[in-house]
Assembly symmetry: C2
Homo-oligomer: 206 residues x 2
Amino acid sequence: MPKRGYHHGNLRQALVEAALELIEAKGPAGFTLSETAKAAGVTPAAVYRHFDGREALIAEAARQGYEMFCDVMETAYASGQPSALAAFEATGRAYLAFAREHPGHYIAMFESGVSVNRSADLAAVAGRAWSVLERAAADLSEHIPADRRPPAAMFSAHIWAMSHGVVELFARNSPGNKSPFPPEDLLETGIGVYLRGLGLIPPDRT
Amino acid sequence: MPKRGYHHGNLRQALVEAALELIEAKGPAGFTLSETAKAAGVTPAAVYRHFDGREALIAEAARQGYEMFCDVMETAYASGQPSALAAFEATGRAYLAFAREHPGHYIAMFESGVSVNRSADLAAVAGRAWSVLERAAADLSEHIPADRRPPAAMFSAHIWAMSHGVVELFARNSPGNKSPFPPEDLLETGIGVYLRGLGLIPPDRT
DNA sequence: TGTACATCAGTGAACGCGCGTTCACTGATGTAC
DNA sequence: TGTACATCAGTGAACGCGCGTTCACTGATGTAC
């Protein structure tokens, strides 16, 4: 880290990180441009050297989140290859791990109210993330007889919905919303039951 | 409706309804006490005749939501009896129907940041809602051999997670987040696959 | 039925606050000669 | 190496705004006599 004088050096990224910490600590509504600037040790006006405004800052945080999310999903997918099942299960675990390790990013991506269509960049990277999950689902569904096979998009939508639901309802340390089970277990078993329902894993495997 | 003069007549409920419409239209962050008062045709200060403040107003909206939610869940559950499966499926459908028909309530309940432990009333009614789903799951899981039976709480957590995920990701008209399938279908098929995974419905029923 | 009065739901003005944003500026950095 | 200068990242003061909340008040309602 170079000396910190009048010029910050890398304020842009420092702002994104300060924003993420605030979002993580106080939720999407708790984030303000002014507080973010203060947390980065800078005047609110300085933010405008790097971003068009408040929304652009959150959007950049979300974009970086999607970028990382793509990476972890792709890595997980590759790690399970050539087994379609192993690849799929790895992406499910990666999803939850991402949400837990990067709650600020996750909130910026899904709960900040920033539309994914705000910019072409954002839409592109979000689409990439989506497609990893869909590819994993499509690979896996090839093991299902064609006449009983649900569309891969529906398959992945189910998994995404369950993953997101587990994150929102049980993986947040929201006061009083005590989770009856560790969210990892909840998601793992939930997906397990679901896959068994598709006939993709044997009925009596636990 | 009595004449609308200086005294409103039923301002308390009118405020709750105005708040719900605002939440529905602009999301949980878009809700403000002042705007709610204006929408009800009243000065912001008048709100304090009926509520302790901003939070108390949202909490009351959430409470009424949980109340209705309990009712529809219980009705759905009863409607499927004595078949545990029919009762369970009806509660799933009722969940989504509630979220779609009463988005303001749903948001107040799950996305407004109001803790369910804010008051004893709220906690009690939320617990009741929770328990309907759990009871439906418990009934149904009795048809599973004891050694392969997941805890009913886990079972219902899975279903709740998938339901909530479908609502959040696919049942909102958020711009650009186009749903590939109608959310009703998504949830119905998702739960169907899940139940098949538990061996609760025959493998080749569609 | 009519009058006096208590009640209390709603008014309207005011408050302090933090927000996002703008603007002319200043001072550190780095390049040209 | 040293000086002049352009660049531009950050300052600090100011803005208008809407927020939640408070307060003394006013005027409609309904009850007692």
